[in-house]
């Protein structure tokens, strides 16, 4: 094993770990906490941006009157005609010629609604509704009209919390981000995996580089990267088809992970199609699934979303469900745009729980970006994309769309000091 640079590591994901479960609860509590906390966070920003001239009002204070100019803070709800609906799916009238699920159900006709604790109002004006998502909390400056609309002149989002400064450059330390290993399909790219392993170990003549790789995060869909076939039936929850192949794939993954973890610390996140729970936050894989790797202190399964600090750098990311859900429900057309949006909205997964499954929290919303990350990634993107996002007050965040390994045979490498990012490709067929 190459000598690795030492980094201070701190796992900050305990907020994503579920201790007990209570499914008698509904989703309203999560929205209520999101709105309450975001309102608290947004209020000083509102005054900074728009001054104290316009009052912040609750919808119920408007009492249906016209021509009131004010600021509203509330949760966006997009009324979308084509939003997937379980009701429509099981409607017997629609059984004939079932519609294939839409890749994107955003539509210019979508209605944008702002909802506060008690009431709703339709928004129009400067809102760019097609690029908004349900669940985003925002402040809107505008006025009411006689038709019951709120005419928006300007909008404000939280844009995530403060950022801790990075210490000045010492030596480069690299974070490796991989996703979509799709072990079920691994026979198609086993050479690439081998190359990747040699590269991690520094056996490709890159020992110096390898020694500065301080951590590998595998961002989901290690086992599979597509949905399982379902048996058609009239049951409440569909049963899974035989999962034997998955079990085998997990065993093989255990081998890979064990050998990688001998090179460097490895964090494994669950992904959308992995044998883990479905709702966000996805819980770490159970130790029993990776008996070999689990014996190594450098290997751990972590939650999705995952948040950790490497020295000063705050690294936050998901296995990509938040981004792909936005690509379905909005007119955003690149994963990078969607990823950037979640950062500027100050919320990792705004469309949860509406169209993105998530646990019915009752006392908090763990997905709010209370601190601005230095590295912010989403796994399982169709292709690699990256950008250094510069926020207010000199905040800098490296956005990384981690490509699917199964599709691109490549991983992303982020320099934790400069926040530079590059792609490393292991495809044996590539030029």
């Amino acid at each position: 094993m190459t000598n690795r640079l030492e980094t201070k590591y701190e796992n900050l994901s305990s907020i994503f770990l579920l201790k007990g479960h209570d499914y008698q609860k509904q989703f309203c509590h999560l929205y209520a906490h999101r709105l309450a906390e975001m309102t608290r966070l947004l209020t000083p920003l509102v005054q900074k941006k728009w001054g104290n001239k316009e009052p912040i009002k609750k919808l119920c204070e408007l009492r249906g009157e016209q021509d009131i100019h004010c600021i509203l803070i509330g949760t966006i709800f997009k009324h979308q005609a084509h939003k997937p609906s379980i009701l429509r799916d099981i409607s017997e009238e629609n059984q004939l010629a079932p519609q294939p699920p839409r890749q994107n159900y955003s539509d210019p006709e979508d209605k944008i609604v702002l909802e506060d604790e008690l009431q709703r109002v339709r928004l129009q004006g400067e809102i760019n509704g097609q690029f908004l998502a349900t669940g985003v909390v925002c402040a809107a400056l505008g006025g009411t009209d006689s038709d019951g609309f709120f005419n928006v002149e300007d909008m404000l989002f939280y844009e995530s919390g403060p950022q801790k400064p990075l210490a000045p450059i010492k030596t480069s330390r690299f974070l490796v981000l991989a996703s979509g290993l799709d072990q079920l399909q691994a026979h198609k790219f086993v050479e690439a995996l081998n190359l990747f392993q040699y590269w991690l170990a520094g056996s490709l003549g890159n020992s110096k580089e390898a020694s500065s790789m301080v951590r590998l995060i595998v961002a989901g869909n290690s086992v599979r990267s597509s949905a399982m076939a379902h048996v058609p039936t009239l049951q409440v929850a569909r049963t899974q088809a035989n999962a034997n192949d998955t079990v085998q794939a997990v065993t093989q993954l255990d081998q890979w992970f064990a050998s990688w973890a001998r090179c460097l610390p490895v964090d494994i996140m669950a992904g959308a199609y992995d044998p883990a729970n479905f709702m966000l936050p996805q819980q770490p894989f159970h130790k029993c699934m990776f008996p070999q790797a689990a014996q190594l202190a450098t290997f751990q399964a972590v939650t999705n979303p995952y948040s950790c600090r490497l020295d000063e750098a705050l690294v936050v990311g998901t296995s990509g469900q938040n981004v792909s859900d936005l690509l379905r429900s909005t007119a955003l057309d690149s994963a990078l745009d969607a990823l950037r949006c979640t950062l500027t909205w100050g919320h990792i997964a705004p469309s949860a729980p509406d169209t993105l499954a998530c646990y019915p929290y009752i006392d908090s919303d763990p997905f709010i970006l209370r601190e601005c990350p230095h590295v912010y990634y989403a796994g399982n993107c169709e292709s690699f994309a990256t950008e250094l996002h510069e926020g207010a007050e000199g905040k800098r965040t490296r956005l990384v769309c981690v490509p699917k390994f199964s599709k691109t045979q490549s991983v992303a490498v982020v320099d934790l000091d400069t926040l530079d990012c590059r792609l490393v490709n292991f495809s044996v067929n590539a030029e």
Partner: protein, 1092 residues
């Protein structure tokens, strides 16, 4: 019309009118003057015992001010919506009786500018005919008039109206009896005109029973047209059809205002008088087919009931009334408001009107209705619930003037019981509330009439037509919300507003108002009677109109309820089976109407039994001028006399053809619906003509006609079969011998033995032409569709994929298969549907069988979602003679919790649960929620044997043959059963639960009690863990989708879902998934937390 409105008119609306009538102080001198005039008005009206004056409180609510009208210079045009009559005093200068009381017809309507009109039509007298006895001569008329007049007046029990004149006129006229051909020579009839409609019956009764004139006996003289409603009589004689335009030409009408005599009686903006022969009634064609912008008010009330009791007007308050008013033709309601009891937080886009007292709220609402002045009142079940409740409640609280909801100032709206007997809808007892001039148009009535649905709750209906669920708040929660704060009341108000809005959206979606208006115009009856009366009145109205122009009159017929039966339509015995080849279907277009036209079948052409000889002698009627029908009746041919019914049918079908042609070229989906509605109305009207002649308890049944029609139909089906089978043979050079596999009332299914759709369509088209050529015009056999494949189960039971073009199918067509029956569980319908899809669309019989097996296995293993098993019945009364499952259950639930137990009138959902052997079925019913919460085992055998087996075998026997039962219901898949252990009843209390291995289900050995797996299964831990997590995954996904769906439906993210709409297909699922997820989580947790 009142002073205030005039004031607003003169101020030209410059200043904003005060919203609140209490803000009158600043109105100034002019206003004071107006108010003065107003109070004078009030005095006079109070003397007359009128209801309150209309108020003008809001620009938004009131109609636009009417133009200044001068009867000598202006014409007045309006679309009438309601025609009715009342007893009034004669108006000098008008025709008719000059001594009161006299009947006056009142027409209500709207002008193109949106002003409401009340038009009094004077001088039209009721009349009837009797056969003139031979010795009756012209000079007897006067004597008869006097004698009958005396008799009728003497006959009046207590003459509180002070009637001085009953019989106005007696004339000798020449008319033809509509019933039976008797040559063209007119007979002599006595036309007797009376002053009041009720004297028609009295006079004809007296003529029959008593000696009126000593020298002439009228007792055997048959009466004619003495059973026609006065309104219909008026409309027929003046050529007014339902919802048409009326024009009052200048110089022929008078306007009423505060100075006129008589004073206005109505709340309409324009009130006029006209003589019955001085107005123009426009045929609804061309320019006059337009529709006025009339106002439709949809509303819904909420009551705060007590726990466990359906709200009663004497006890439980009305707490909210939501209203939506839309102008016909516009998309959005222009008034949206809700009247609430106690403070309610505002709702953007709707006006919230809070009231401290219920009496005040009811009073204001009633004033609101008068101010908005709607032409049509709608809502869901308003006739039988909302209106009676409001009126009873207001009476109980002694709210003054509440009942003045109609357009006539001094008439209160009262509740009457009404019985409607109709073949279409069966016997129904309804409540009816009068609103002179406003048409109650209950959406529920429309749906009951026109659509066959599994359930008629507003939830089910909106799901069916709009694919939207509706949040349903349980009665018990309504009271809690009302007793909360202004925000909880706001939530209730949102719910109430939605219930007021939904009927409008449904009416629009179903095009109900436009279609009904078209129907009123086509058949000539008032709009309201389409909902309150049966089919007969429509045909009667058309027949009378036709008869009038030709000088025919209709004998009155008293129903004898005879048992005489005529043979119904027969069917060609079906050759059952699954046909994988295309089956061409030949249809007779409008079969019964075309038979009547082709063979000139009518009352006027019928040669009555025994008159043939007489006619031959007297009228020189030759044998070749008479046609004998297969039912052995004789009708004269059309060259002798064209029948009235054929003429009516011709115009109906011609109009339908026009509508269909327009439909073909129309591209606008909205207008297409209107045209489709029109052609459907015309088709229904044409078909009901046959029904009219066959209705035994009808105005004029004629079994000779209806019997002949069906007899012709039968022979034609037979003939078609013979023609097709004899022509399309291998001997004649065709691919195969054609076989008619089935024939029903008006269609014939032919198997030409060809393999392609193109060829079968070609042969179908050719055969239709060939056979048509052998029939009398206009009977026409049409080729319309090919079924491919086709599953013929039995008479009137079949399914097939319906093709009209060779490239794609139009739909899956199912007849008589268990897909909509209400007393089945949805499981049956869903399974049938899926099977038919697999059989017909996917052509995968093996897949269908596999699917059935899967579902049956799921059923036996308790994996089916409970909502598929729920059977629903209405709790109509609690004392059925025979014990019924839902009644027993309701009693059981009442013991558990009287608050949420179903009440009389509620629909009770239940599932059948497993019970000890020989437990009667009615004791096995259980509340689905209770079943879920307590894991009560379902009686899977009941569902398999009582619900699924018969319909399944019916569709699979043609495919699998006699083996169907053993394959589907007895195979390997039925061996595994899961029995859940109930948490309640039986031995549940004595059981202790021991932990079992999650892998092999064996009891855990000593020392392993806390572990998840036994030592034997431990090596498979990873695999078993993944299996449990996998199961949880699916549940998590379902959980998320279900509960977010409910959030969307209730339109709030931040508020808890409280909906208890049991009709919603996800209601039980939602509950079930919570429990399953909790259980599954426990299983996963036995593996221990994933700690690293």
């Amino acid at each position: 019309m009142d002073g205030k409105r005039k004031f607003n008119g003169t101020s030209n609306g410059h200043a904003k009118k005060p919203r609140n009538p209490d803000e009158d102080e600043e109105m100034g001198f002019e206003a004071e003057l107006a108010a003065f005039e107003n109070s004078e008005d009030m005095d006079q009206t109070l003397l007359m015992g009128d209801g309150p004056e209309n108020q003008t409180t809001s620009e938004r609510w009131s109609r636009p001010p009417p133009p200044e009208l001068d009867p000598s210079k202006h014409n007045l045009e309006f679309q009438q919506l309601d025609v009715e009559n009342y007893l009034g005093q004669p108006l000098p200068g008008m025709p008719g009786a000059q001594i009161g009381p006299v009947p006056v017809v009142r027409m209500f309507g709207v002008t193109m500018e949106g002003n409401s009109v009340c038009c009094h039509v004077h001088g039209f007298c009721p009349y009837f005919y009797i056969e003139a006895p031979r010795q009756f001569e012209e000079h007897h008329c006067e004597k008869l008039q006097k004698a009958l007049d005396q008799k009728v007046i003497a006959d009046i029990r207590n003459n509180k109206d002070n009637v001085q004149e009953a019989v106005l006129m007696v004339e000798l006229v020449e008319k033809l009896n509509i019933h039976g051909y008797n040559g063209d020579k007119k007979q002599r009839y006595i036309k007797i005109s009376v002053t009041l409609p009720r004297f028609v019956a009295a006079a004809s009764r007296l003529l029959k029973k008593e000696v009126i004139m000593s020298e002439i006996d009228f007792q055997d003289c048959r009466a004619f047209e003495n059973n026609i409603d006065f309104d219909i009589r008026f409309m027929v004689d003046t050529d007014v059809v339902g919802c048409n335009w009326i024009e009052l030409p200048m110089g022929h009408w008078r306007i009423r205002n505060s100075h006129s005599k008589p004073l206005p009686e109505s709340r309409c903006q324009i009130e006029v008088d006209v003589a019955f022969d001085r107005f123009i009634s426009h045929e609804p064609e061309g320019e006059w087919s337009k529709v006025a912008p009339f106002r439709i008010l949809s509303f819904d009330i909420e009551c705060a009931g007590r726990k466990g009791i359906f709200p009663e007007a004497k006890m439980d308050p009305v707490i909210q009334i939501a209203n939506m008013v839309i102008r016909q033709g516009e998309r959005e309601p222009f008034i949206r408001n809700v009247f609430t009891l106690n403070q309610c937080a505002p709702i953007i886009g709707s006006q919230v009107l809070c009231h401290d007292k219920e009496t005040q709220m009811l009073d204001k609402w009633s004033a609101f209705v008068r101010e908005v002045d709607p032409d049509i009142l709608t809502g869901y079940n308003i006739n039988n619930f909302d209106f009676p409740y409001l009126i009873n409640r207001a009476a109980h609280l002694k709210v003054k003037n509440f009942e003045y909801l109609g357009r006539i100032k001094n008439i209160r709206s009262v509740i009457k019981e009404q019985m409607l007997q109709s073949k279409q809808m069966g016997r129904r007892e309804n409540q009816y509330v009068n609103f002179e001039g406003r048409v109650p148009f209950d959406l529920l009535f429309v749906l009951l009439r026109d659509y066959k649905l599994r359930s008629y709750t507003l939830n089910a209906v909106s799901y069916h037509f709009l694919q939207e669920q509706k949040e349903d708040v349980h009665h018990s929660i309504i009271t809690d919300l009302q007793n909360g704060d202004e925000q909880t009341r706001r939530r209730l108000a949102m719910y109430c507003l939605k219930d007021a809005y939904l009927p409008l959206r449904l009416l629009e979606k179903l095009m109900a108002i436009v279609n009904y208006m078209e129907m009123a115009r086509v058949t000539g009856v008032p709009l309201e009677s389409l909902l309150t009366r049966g089919q007969q009145i429509k045909v009667l109205s058309q027949l009378l109109r036709k008869a009038k122009t030709k000088g025919f009159i209709m004998p009155s017929y008293t129903s004898q309820g005879s048992d005489e039966q005529y043979e119904g339509a027969t069917v060609i015995e079906p050759k059952r089976g699954y046909y994988a080849d295309p089956i061409s279907t030949l249809d007779f277009a409008s079969l019964y109407p075309s038979i009547m036209m082709a063979h000139n079948l009518c009352y006027t052409t019928l040669v009555l039994g025994g008159t043939r000889e007489k006619l031959r002698e007297q009228e020189n009627l030759q044998d070749d001028q008479v046609e004998r029908t297969p039912a052995n009746n004789y009708f004269v041919k059309s060259e002798v006399r064209r029948g009235l019914l054929p003429e009516i049918l011709e115009s109906l079908l011609a109009a339908r053809k026009r509508a269909k042609n327009d439909l073909k070229v129309e591209t606008d989906p909205f207008k297409r619906k209107v045209l489709d509605g029109r052609q459907l109305a015309l088709k229904i009207s044409a078909n009901s003509v046959y029904g009219f002649t066959g209705a035994q308890v009808g105005k004029l049944p004629c079994l000779e006609i209806s019997g002949s029609v069906t007899a012709y139909g039968r022979t034609m089906i037979e003939m078609t079969k013979n023609e097709v089978e004899s022509h399309y043979t291998q001997a004649n050079g065709y691919e195969n011998n054609a076989v008619v596999i089935y024939g029903d009332t008006d269609s014939v299914m032919v198997n030409f033995g060809v393999k392609t759709l193109e060829r079968s369509m070609e042969l179908g088209r050719e055969a239709a032409e060939l056979v048509s050529s052998k029939f009398v015009h206009p009977i026409k056999l049409e080729f319309e569709k090919v079924y491919y494949p086709y599953l013929l189960i039995n008479k009137k039971r079949y399914a097939g994929l319906y093709f009209t073009r060779p490239d794609t199918y139009d739909k899956m067509d199912c007849k008589g298969i268990e897909t909509v029956r209400r007393d089945n569980s949805p499981l049956v319908a869903n399974l049938m549907n899926s099977c038919l899809q697999k059989l017909l669309i996917e052509r995968d019989p093996d897949g269908a069988v596999a699917y059935v097996k899967q579902v049956i296995a799921d059923l036996l293993c308790n994996r089916i979602d409970i909502s598929h098993l729920v059977i629903t019945k209405e709790l109509a009364k609690t004392d059925y003679a025979a014990k019924q499952a839902h009644v027993e259950l309701a009693a059981k639930m009442k013991k558990r919790d009287p608050g949420t137990a179903p009440k009389l009138g509620d629909r009770v959902p239940y599932v059948i649960c497993a019970a000890a052997k020989n437990t009667p079925a009615y004791q096995k019913a259980e509340d689905p929620l209770y079943v879920l919460e307590n894991s009560v085992p379902i009686d899977a055998t009941y569902y398999l044997e009582q619900q699924l087996s018969k319909p399944l075998l019916r569709i699979f026997e043609p495919i699998l043959g006699d083996n169907a039962e053993s394959i589907l219901l007895k195979g390997e898949h039925t061996r595994t059963r899961t029995v859940v252990t109930s948490k309640v009843g039986g031995l549940a209390g004595f059981m202790t639960k021991k932990t079992a291995c999650l892998g092999c289900k064996s009891l855990m050995p000593k020392g392993y009690e806390q572990a998840c797996l036994c030592p034997h299964c431990e090596p498979r831990m990873s695999e078993l863990y993944q299996k449990e997590v996998g199961a949880k995954r699916e549940l998590e996904e379902t959980f998320s989708r279900l509960w977010t769906e409910c959030q969307r439906c209730q339109e709030s993210l931040h508020e808890e879902v409280i909906c208890s709409n049991r009709d919603c297909p996800i209601f039980y699922m939602r509950q079930k998934v919570r429990m399953d997820l909790d259980n599954q989580e426990k299983r996963v947790m036995r593996f221990g937390l994933a700690e690293w």
